[in-house]
């Protein structure tokens, strides 16, 4: 009676030569970035050598790498390896605390209009405060040598983007989706689980990517204001005051690498948890 509708999309076949091609295309896509990066490093090395710049103005990349290797397990300054690990633990702790509190506040604000009225203005106001100025206070409250004082700084920085984004993800749901669920006589709890939370996941991961960097920044800044010595922030401060800028740069390099790895971990988690999201679609 009815002609079967022709499918506009064919079911996907097994992976064939198309996959190798995709790999090549991806490699070509990243090639310019790699060239610019490597070129930049080479240029840096050449210019510093040619101009004969002193190492306290700008050390050569090769000198930075040498300093990184020489100071990895200690010497005049605390070992860079263990320092990076300690800083990472502080920022991870801060990220965890900030994320948990941020998500909790987001759920409260999304669920209760009163909470929204009370908490959001406070959160916005709090975000306008130069939070890093509080670092000495956190040292006082949680103890100078206690890593929690550094975690607190990281957590406060992480809190705002997480709260703001997750709240938006929970609230900005397609009205028709809610209407659909109501036509099934679904409870608010079911709507939360089946619509709002999945809808908020992409917002959450976007916030998390910003938050990793903020957590690292928070931890290092808090370290500047004192505390235990085997952390990147202290190595940076102490090597700089000793005019050993090659070690300072090595510590900064290590902080950057930590930040990038941190970020990539979130990207991998994002791909695992929300492969359906438009930003991650491959076809």
């Amino acid at each position: 009676m009815t002609a079967p509708a022709t499918p506009a999309v064919r079911p996907r076949g097994p992976a064939g030569p198309g996959r190798t091609q995709a790999r090549i295309r991806q490699a070509v896509f990243y090639l310019p970035a790699v060239i610019v990066f490597v070129g930049g490093i080479v240029l840096w090395e050449v210019v510093v050598t040619a101009l004969g710049l002193r190492q306290f103005v700008l050390p050569r990349p090769s000198a930075i790498v040498t300093a990184l290797i020489d100071n990895w397990s200690g010497g005049r300054f605390p070992g860079l390896g263990v320092s990076a690990l300690n800083t990472l633990i502080e920022s991870l702790g801060g990220l965890l605390i900030g994320t948990i509190v941020g998500v909790a506040v987001a759920f409260a604000t999304a669920r209760f209009a009163t909470a929204r009225g009370v908490l959001l203005p406070i959160a916005v106001a709090a975000n306008a405060v130069p939070i890093v100025a509080f670092a000495p206070l956190f040292n006082n409250w949680f103890g100078l040598l206690n890593p929690v004082s550094k975690m607190a700084m990281a957590a406060v920085l992480v809190f705002f983007p997480i709260t703001a984004n997750v709240t938006r993800g929970l609230v900005q749901v397609e009205p028709a989706s809610v209407e659909l669920m109501r036509s099934y006589a679904a409870s608010e709890w079911t709507i939360l689980r089946k619509v709002r939370i999945p809808n908020a996941l992409p917002y959450f991961f976007t916030a998390l990517k910003v938050a990793t960097t903020l957590a690292l920044i928070g931890a290092i800044i808090a370290e500047y204001f004192g505390g235990q010595n085997r952390v990147l922030g202290r190595v940076i401060v102490e090597s700089a005051s000793a005019l050993r800028f090659d070690v300072t740069w090595a510590a900064i390099l290590l902080a950057a690498i930590t930040g990038i790895v941190f970020y990539l971990v979130i990207v991998v988690l994002e791909r695992l948890f929300i492969p359906w999201h438009s930003s991650l679609r491959t076809d």
Partner: protein, 288 residues
């Protein structure tokens, strides 16, 4: 499908009014004195210019919007009770599929809410996808399907919970003419196979005539039922039906019923309004 006596209407609307009150503005009357009975297994279309409240009426039947006055009885009980009993299947103009669910999991959604067990959920979802001829696509995500296919998934989902009544709100309004005609045949085939009662909101006269057992013609401001037209075209209907004399007569009858308005004998105003409404819905993909 049910042991209930066929003479009992699935939907009974009695003296339904709906007024909207926004802030300090004077209240607007969306619907006035709507009385209508829909029998089991009927296919009833609601047609009218934008602002006639046809979508609101559909939502009142589905207990998504409360009426200001009047009674809404579905399956012999108040609409609120019917919704709690999961008597409804809804299809909107947009497919409203969840991006994070595969086609199969989208179809399972109402069954999950109802607490149907896993094995029966899977069986039922596959059965419904077969009904809409999308069984090959169950592991696809919505974005991998065309608009027409997405709407078929939405229909499969609406039918998964075996609703007593299927409420469709301009379901093919956002599709191109050719896809729309194919979907019309599809929906008729599904209706004939399942015996579900369907209430169908549209602003397309040919669509209403082709599909329905009865066409309810509404007027705007305030929204009233102007005329109910029995469509006595033979079944099963197919593409040839669209070329019969009776089909054209009925299309004309519906058009004239839409036009008839005091002080506007040509009915041009309504004709224009219908065209504008159709364009706007296409452009915005919104609810009329």
């Amino acid at each position: 499908m049910s042991t209930m006596i066929d003479s009992q209407p699935v939907v009974r609307l009695q003296g339904v009014d709906k007024t909207f009150q926004r802030g300090n503005q004077p209240e607007t009357v969306a619907l006035e004195d709507i009385s209508l009975e829909i029998r089991r297994g009927e296919f009833v279309s609601l047609i009218g210019p934008s602002g006639c409240g046809k979508s609101t009426l559909l939502r009142i039947i589905g207990d998504l919007v409360p009426p200001t006055r009047g009674d809404v009885i579905v399956n012999g009980k108040p609409a609120a009770r019917a919704r709690q009993d999961r008597d409804y299947g809804m299809v909107f103009q947009a497919p409203v599929l969840f991006d994070w669910r595969t086609v199969e999991d989208n179809v399972k959604l109402p069954l999950e809410v109802q607490g149907v067990d896993r094995v029966r959920r899977t069986g039922r979802a596959r059965e419904m996808l077969e009904l809409v001829e999308l069984q090959e696509f169950l592991r696809h995500y919505p974005y991998q399907l065309s608009g027409g296919m997405q709407q078929r998934v939405a229909i499969a989902r609406a039918l998964a919970g075996e609703p007593a009544i299927l409420l469709m709100d301009e379901p093919f309004g956002a599709l191109d003419e050719m896809t729309r005609e194919r979907m019309n045949s599809e929906v008729l085939r599904i209706w004939e196979q399942t015996g579900t009662t369907i209430v169908f909101v549209t602003h397309s006269i040919p669509e209403a005539v082709f599909l329905s057992s009865r066409v309810v013609v509404m007027s705007a401001r305030p929204g009233r039922i102007r005329k109910v037209i029995d469509v006595d075209l033979a079944r099963p209907r197919n593409e040839d039906t669209r070329e019969t004399r009776r089909y054209f007569e009925l299309v004309t009858e519906v058009r004239e019923a839409l036009r008839a308005r005091r002080g506007d004998p040509t009915g041009q105003a309504i004709e224009d309004e219908l065209a504008i409404s159709a364009e706007r819905t296409l452009a915005e993909g919104s609810i009329g």
